[in-house]
């Protein structure tokens, strides 16, 4: 039963620029925080799922990135699986851990996502991100993920179903949330005027609308409920885990298809979700996901935002952490950070950004680009089990 699978602990290394920290340092701190949070020790872990996307391209460390990270901490012997699935690596690693615990091959698994994108040559980081597309197709094209989101949004501006003001408003919301999150990379608030007047990146996107290069790590402990002593602790269980890849033969976006699967698994619908973390690599991108995830009808995202439904104090708050744009997007760590955030939200431990009385939560993490849509999408639904 998937309902037997719980998130027993969560931890982060703050996202941002950390020139004095190696990848091992970032991951170690997130892992230690997650273990402390769960009241567990390294010796309790029987499996590791490690997510990282760029350390191979940016540092040359390929093949055993997870082993290098956990062995530095003193963890040996257990199976370590290295997961790489573009910007959805973290949620894919989480799904693997959930699957293992469900299947009984693991009782207590560590999921850790870690990434260090600040390197001497900033251009190298942009180049490395480009490899989340089919290079045989895109090389020489000047493909950038900012441009991909920009074209999706530009189409919506052209048809009149979103306005520039909506895009700015979503960005202001993102940064307001990031400002409340001590683990966020960007903690400065913006006005709509600031956002629209900022440096252009890819029309209609400006700099504050876009996630940036970032260092960071996040970890969660996935466990069978019988394997941990939860007495006195708030409990969070996994209600759905869905993963998919885009299709080119119909117009259904991958986030639509995968979230439908997650809703079917969970037996609840989009109207029942009380807090969400969505993949806003560019802040206004969250508007598109309101529609893909079924929070509103097609073309109604701007209205949902303007009505405040997705604000921190609204009925269905989206990205209380600040999301990818403001919390930061260290690629391999992002999906795990979403799940850590939702764990804290469901336990009532999210501090100044706490969503009141949230009992069901959804994380959507997408990655890569293939034939016009994301190459991967993962959707998880968590719920308070206390």
């Amino acid at each position: 039963m998937i309902h037997d699978v719980e998130v027993a602990g969560a931890g982060m290394h703050p996202f941002g620029r950390h020139p004095d920290r190696s990848l091992k340092d970032l991951a170690r701190i997130a892992i230690v925080n997650a273990l402390d949070d769960a009241g567990l020790r390294l010796a309790d872990l029987d499996a590791v799922y490690s997510a990282n996307s760029l350390a191979g391209l940016l540092g040359g460390q390929e093949q055993i990135r997870g082993q290098t990270v956990v062995r530095d901490l003193g963890l040996e012997g257990v199976p370590v699986v290295n997961v790489e699935n573009a910007c959805a690596s973290g949620s894919t690693a989480f799904r693997e851990a959930v699957t293992a615990v469900r299947a009984g091959t693991s009782r207590i698994a560590l999921v850790v996502g870690h990434e260090k994108m600040y390197v001497d040559d900033r251009n190298a980081s942009l180049e490395a991100l480009r490899s989340a597309s089919d290079l045989e197709v895109t090389t020489g094209m000047g493909l950038q993920f900012t441009a991909i989101y920009a074209m999706r949004l530009q189409a919506r501006l052209a048809e009149g179903s979103l306005t520039l003001d909506d895009l700015a408003r979503a960005t202001v919301k993102s940064h307001a949330a990031g400002a409340r999150n001590p683990d966020a990379q960007h903690r400065r608030e913006f006005t709509s005027e600031d956002v629209l007047a900022a440096r252009k990146i890819a029309d209609p996107l400006t700099l504050p609308m876009c996630s940036s290069v970032c260092d960071g790590a996040a970890a969660v402990i996935v466990a069978h409920r019988d394997a941990i002593d939860s007495a006195g602790r708030p409990r969070v269980r996994v209600r759905a885990s869905a993963l998919g890849t885009g299709t080119s033969t119909d117009d259904t976006e991958v986030a639509v298809a995968v979230s439908r699967r997650a809703y079917e698994q969970s037996g609840i619908g989009p109207g029942d979700i009380e807090v969400l973390e969505v993949h806003d690599a560019m802040a206004p991108g969250e508007l598109l996901y309101y529609e893909h995830l079924g929070l509103c009808e097609r073309g109604q995202a701007g209205e949902l935002l303007r009505r405040g439904v997705t604000d921190l104090g609204g009925k269905q708050p989206v990205n209380p952490s600040g999301g990818l744009c403001s919390r930061g997007h260290p690629v391999g760590a992002t999906g795990v950070a979403q799940l850590a955030e939702l764990t804290w939200q469901l336990r009532g431990q999210a501090g100044a950004r706490q969503v009141e009385h949230a009992r069901t939560a959804l994380a959507q993490n997408s990655g890569g680009w293939a034939d016009g849509d994301s190459a991967v999408c993962a959707v998880h639904i968590l719920e308070s089990a206390s």
């Binding site: 045989e136 094209m141 441009a147 530009q154 252009k200 890819a202 033969t249």
Partner: protein
């Protein structure tokens, strides 16, 4: 640069599948011999019926720019600003550069294909009609 900056066509990493026909000035997709589905870029199999009987097919040279963006940040040594578009050639979506649109361009809008020389990067692009 840590990734290849030129077409990998002809390298050992390439499928070796031709994506354009410089003689006729057209893009080449793959057409399914079973169900007729056309893919761009060309593939070894059909994503709709899973037949592996696919053949090169010539795509139309005129279509509709569905959406576009002007990019202001350099990558791959391409000097900004440069313009990117998603173009619909009948039902087939093609991601490509857009040239000659000036300061104002409203999509959807009709465009046509141009193909450069073997030395040009990118090898093809679209221009407004």
């Amino acid at each position: 640069m840590i990734l290849p900056t030129v077409d990998t066509a002809g390298s050992q990493l390439s499928t070796g599948r031709h994506r354009l026909d410089p003689d006729t000035g057209t893009l080449l997709g793959s057409g399914c011999a079973e169900c007729g589905w056309i893919s761009w870029p060309p593939r070894a199999g059909c994503p709709r019926c899973h037949s592996m009987q696919v053949d090169p097919v010539t795509l139309p040279t005129s279509g509709i720019a569905h959406t576009w963006t002007r990019v202001w940040v350099p990558i791959e040594g391409i000097a900004p600003p440069y313009d990117l578009a998603v173009v619909l050639l009948d039902e087939v979506r093609v991601f490509a550069h857009l040239l000659g649109v000036g300061d104002r361009f409203d999509t959807p809008a009709p465009v046509r294909l141009e193909i450069g020389t073997a030395e040009d990067r990118p090898r093809f692009w679209f221009v407004p009609v």
